[in-house]
Symmetry: C2
């Protein structure tokens, strides 16, 4: 528990002093430590721990995925009885969790999302819901699980359950924690789909708002570890120890044997698939939005019991439909079997595969609806993707399944169970894709067209139309199907479906985040911001200052009078002019007020030589907690008469913008750097210096004179 | 040719006025246009053109790749005779071009890199050098070709060759041009390796310093177009119209039939491959650095003739070695052929494949050194990667090849021919990979180990050790070999080799960029920046101001007295105080001085009602040109006595930082936003307002009160 030297604002010209308690201080602090006590070793230790944690996240998420898979395959009978009691104690609003994680990485900490009990709830909840056969997948929860593991590691365990360890408490800045959570997200996708590169790209494209190339490497490492862990577990399970898990191999739905070639005429039906995907995806987003809205405002206000009844009801309906509908469907006779295809019809009892004999009268018959409906989702998708099974499904069955499953997916999304939208999306998409494929086969009468290929494209198009990802989705689709030759087609279908979907609404996660009131900053500034200046944005909102040395009673009354989170601190120079010495955070003031150790009797600034009496970690708000409120502070009348000098605790150089800067520029600054507060200041009266590229190149380049260089006129000059 | 209204600085509170001529002005300008003349249509047109250009880049780069491939396969005889005359007229320093493109996207315009004649030189140069059998690849030049096509489109053609079109001149800001060049880079990689996703990631990871998610989508689109173009051309070529091109199919080195499984014991030799890759890669970077240095300082100073002689000499040595060495090697007897493997020994004459009979005495013999050496690079790699050919190569041959080819690659890199480093890197890596594989086969005595798999890992490790890419390289390796199952192994090998290489030096492109004096800003600020403040960085360097209304003679003398590129402009308020009204660029001043239309007789500010007499495009410097110099300006004595009001031309809100901000923060600001100049200003005396996240969310969220939110303490507060 190291303490650092107090240095007042006025002495800070060396830049390494206590600026604030944001991440740079940590680094300065680490730097000071390094000089003072442990030398370069400490920095090395810090880096090693970062990588070690990335390793642990990989292992942890991989193991969680394996555990869930094994449980789903083997203990599907558990279903809701045990799991609901756990879910109840964990984070209340379940669902996919991805909008909240997206929010966290965008800069908003939703209460309760990254706790230990959320982790446990997610693991058992997804076993229950996926094993129970609901129309949802386990990949959303796995992303959340990865993020939880990362966050718990980052803050050194869970204090509430006494699982915390001093040794682990290395990361005290939110930036490091956020980096870990990004690793966790990638690990989740990598574990869910056994798609390590897809995981990296998912973290890059969908989740994080803020990216550095060093982080990319660490995320990549985490994903690779997940791949190795999952693969090792699968190898270990091969001998049949873990039930069905692992039988698919590392690639979940291997269609490498599918259509190798395509002709120009096929581009039209493929474009149609893209359009359908965009339309159905946008519709899905809109319907889930309405239903979630209704659910929040009417249903869930009646308490937790209603949530559980609802989930059970949905589960019951799902079971009835997936068992009942196939019963109503007549069985079809088996096709003439090709000896080399290796596909038996009907499939042998107790095995997984195509051509399910479901209460069929004759021996050589199968029920095509049961083949999709009365199967695990993984197997249903494998069947839909399968090549060399032309005419397995009738259009009527596929259409029935599409309508029913689409409705079930819409209704299930947003119930109080952990839900992923990838697998249901793939189910929906591959169904209509296969439908289109059937018509193509009939229309073009060519034999080398495989319906399974169209099913794959359909799956890509629906996911593109609903989630609006491009690169990561593309890579995930390739990684889970092991068919690189279809990559250009997947790319084109995705582009079309995303474009069509974007014409209607935003992506699924963004819509859900809006609905839950998570204020995501989009990557593109709004169009009307061009006409606005920074000053106009602040409007007439009065700026509430803290003086440098402030009476405790005044501090309390200022905090009570508004709900701002950041306050400028001003000081008076000897000439009487005021000067802004920095930014003070509400949370930090509350910590100071609660500890009381910095109170002083005199209204004069402290001289800067006293050691600060605070441990750094006191100022760090635990993730997902509510932090201290002003109502938690209890002060005696004597305390209220004391003073406090804020200078050692301010962030002495927050980012500033001139008053007439256009809001577009401000927005880019805010989002690219992940800021929380920007000071709008008057136009400067003079310039002390200019910094240009050459000032930032500290290393000397001996040959720099030999090439003629001209700066490109960069984005924002 | 639209002109926009002059509005003086003092009237600019609406924020949409003429700030400067950087990209935001363009957008404001477009916005004004939209209101004034064409409505929303113009904005739509702008977006459509962006996409259309992305399409053109894709098609252009794809066709260039096809043209080069066909030419290399068929006209290898041309070699240097024709091509050198073209190279001489094009951009002088050839080589890979990637360091320069990297520099351009990082914000530095090297003279001559993106011209029409560079494009032509690159195309014919790479045909000559690759077709001539030098130890280099065509992928570096293809990246450069993609970037050239993009840049030429962006500035509306080449003025010099009268290929320019008014219609194409839509993009007037450097930001849009830079985005196009990013698309071009991705297109180049996608075309070279037929690896569209790899192209996107290459652009993301290696080339661009600055990334937005909108851009990602467009880059993705360009890559998809390239894939479709290349694939279509290959389909058209299948009938044998284009020689050998296209025979490999869309995946260049398909090894999908290789080793499917691996055991734990194999991880050790694989890790060894990673370490070797790191060591050899770092050594390669270091050797090429020394040689390039020597070449620049001694050899190339003697003129172009020396360059050509050098290239011919290298070519001659390469030919002698690749023909001569196999002659010295004894032939081996063919292995007992397995009927199902489909590999004939020796290969039939006129075909491509394994087991080359090269002056062998007997019929059933082959020369293993000739199989690698006396072959096109593509085929040599295919042979090295090939499975089911255990014991094809002797350790002696592989070692000979490794040493010779490594030396040739080092020597060839940096000659005056367009060179890519990917293919040679794959050659080198797969050779030692296969060597290790041979020992593994011998040591573990397991039959399911394929030497080809180790060759692939070796290739990945050498590229990782030399170029230090991770994600994009990984995806490229998977895309060119079509073997997803090896992905986790490739990832681990890459991580090891990158880590080992990083211990010695920087990546190949960074080292070369340093050597050529391209001042790249790395993604991570230097460690010592933590101790420095913005003010210290500026040092005692005096700030040179322009007054708002300035005498032309003074302007000239200020410009002559220093070589700064940006100048603060100050004005005097009625109270006598000075105020900084913005930033003026040297290039813009020079344009004003040359055109003379804004000269005025009175030293008083103009009243802001006159229209500006400049077309916007006058201020845009063409890419790769030197721009105007102060020596190009010729003014009469009368002109020198005139005045000019700079206010309408300044960037009125450049980014500012307070004097005591730590340099780490400044660096992040500079790099993340791609800036050229930052003003260091004194601490503010007051704060006009605070901007926080909620001020930037212009849309209302009706439900935002229902969830408890707390901001995460973001990176830089």
């Amino acid at each position: 528990m190291v303490r650092w030297a107090r240095s007042a604002y006025s002495k800070k010209s060396d830049g390494s002093s206590v600026e604030s308690l944001d991440y740079e201080v940590i680094e300065n602090y680490a730097y000071k430590e390094e000089q003072a006590q442990r030398g370069k070793l400490y920095v090395g230790y810090y880096v090693v721990v970062k990588w070690f944690f990335a390793l642990l996240i990989g292992i942890g998420t991989g193991l969680a995925a394996v555990f869930i898979n094994i449980s789903v395959e083997n203990f599907a009978g558990w279903k809701f009885s045990l799991t609901f009691s756990i879910i109840q104690k964990s984070y209340k609003q379940q669902g996919s969790g991805i909008p909240e994680i997206k929010g966290y990485l965008n800069g908003i900490d939703t209460h309760g999302i990254l706790l230990f009990r959320t982790l446990v709830g997610k693991i058992f909840g997804s076993i229950g819901s996926v094993g129970g056969g609901l129309a949802l997948g386990k990949e959303g929860p796995l992303v959340h699980i990865g993020a939880c593991i990362a966050s718990l590691l980052g803050q050194g365990g869970s204090a509430k359950y006494h699982l915390s360890s001093r040794w682990l408490q290395v990361f005290k800045s939110d930036r490091d924690r956020r980096d870990l959570v990004t690793c966790g997200c990638a690990a989740g996708v990598a574990a869910a789909f056994r798609a390590p590169v897809g995981g990296v790209l998912f973290a890059l494209e969908e989740v994080t708002s803020w990216w550095r190339s060093q982080l990319m490497w660490r995320v990549f490492f985490t994903s690779a570890i997940v791949a190795v862990v999952v693969r090792t577990a699968m190898g270990w399970c091969k001998s049949g120890k873990c039930g069905h898990f692992g039988s698919g191999g590392f690639i979940i739905w291997d269609i490498s044997g599918a259509q190798e070639d395509y002709s120009f005429e096929e581009l039209l039906p493929m474009a149609i698939i893209g359009v359908i995907g965009g339309l159905l995806g946008a519709l899905f987003n809109q319907l889930t939005l309405y239903i979630t809205h209704w659910r929040r405002n009417y249903l869930h206000k009646r308490g937790n019991r209603v949530k559980i009844i609802e989930a059970c009801l949905v589960s019951l309906i799902t079971s009835v439909i997936s068992f009942g509908l196939p019963l109503l469907r007549k069985c079809s006779p088996c096709p003439e079997s090709e000896l080399n295809s290796g596909i038996e019809c009907p499939r042998p009892p107790g095995m997984y595969g195509n051509y399910v004999n479901f209460y069929c009268g004759k021996d050589k018959e199968y029920n095509d609806l049961a083949t999709i409906f009365f199967n695990t989702q993984d197997d249903a998708i494998r069947n839909l993707f399968s090549a060399k099974t032309i005419h397995e499904y009738s259009a009527q069955s596929l259409l029935t399944f599409l309508v029913m499953f689409y409705s079930l997916a819409v209704v299930t999304f947003g119930t109080a169970v952990p839900a992923g939208q990838f697998v249901p999306g793939i189910m929906i998409g591959s169904t209509y894709g296969r439908l289109v494929g059937m018509f193509v086969v009939r229309f073009y009468k060519k034999l080398n067209i495989e319906e399974g290929t169209y099913a794959l494209l359909g799956a890509a198009s629906f996911l593109g139309g609903s989630m609006r990802m491009t690169v990561s989705l593309c890579v995930i689709m390739v990684e889970i199907t092991n068919n690189l030759k279809l990559l250009p087609l997947i790319m084109l279908v995705l582009l079309i479906s995303k474009a069509v979907g974007d014409a209607f609404n935003e992506g699924l996660y963004e819509e859900q985040a809006h609905l839950r009131g998570i204020p995501l900053l989009e990557s593109r500034p709004k169009y009307q911001m061009r006409k606005m200046t920074a000053k106009e944005t602040c409007g007439n909102q009065k700026v509430v200052y803290f003086p440098r040395v402030v009476k405790v009673a005044d501090l309390i009354s200022i905090l009570r009078s508004n709900n701002h989170n950041g306050f400028p601190v001003i000081d008076h120079m000897k000439s009487g002019e005021t000067i802004v010495i920095g930014l003070m955070l509400r949370s930090r003031v509350l910590v100071l007020l609660r500890s009381k150790v910095d109170f002083q009797h005199s209204p004069l600034p402290c001289d800067g030589s006293l050691p600060i009496r605070h441990n750094f970690s006191e100022f760090v708000k635990p993730v997902s907690s509510k932090g201290i409120s002003i109502n938690d502070i209890h002060l005696s009348p004597d305390d209220l008469e004391m003073y406090i000098d804020l200078a050692p605790f301010v962030n002495s150089s927050p980012y500033i913008v001139p008053e007439d800067m256009s809001l577009t520029k401000v927005y880019n600054l805010f989002r690219q750097l992940g800021l929380r507060h920007i000071f709008v200041v008057p136009r400067a009266s003079r310039v002390i210096g200019m910094i240009s590229r050459k000032d930032l190149l500290i290393e000397e380049n001996e040959d720099s004179s030999t090439v003629e260089l001209q700066s490109t006129n960069s984005s924002a000059m």
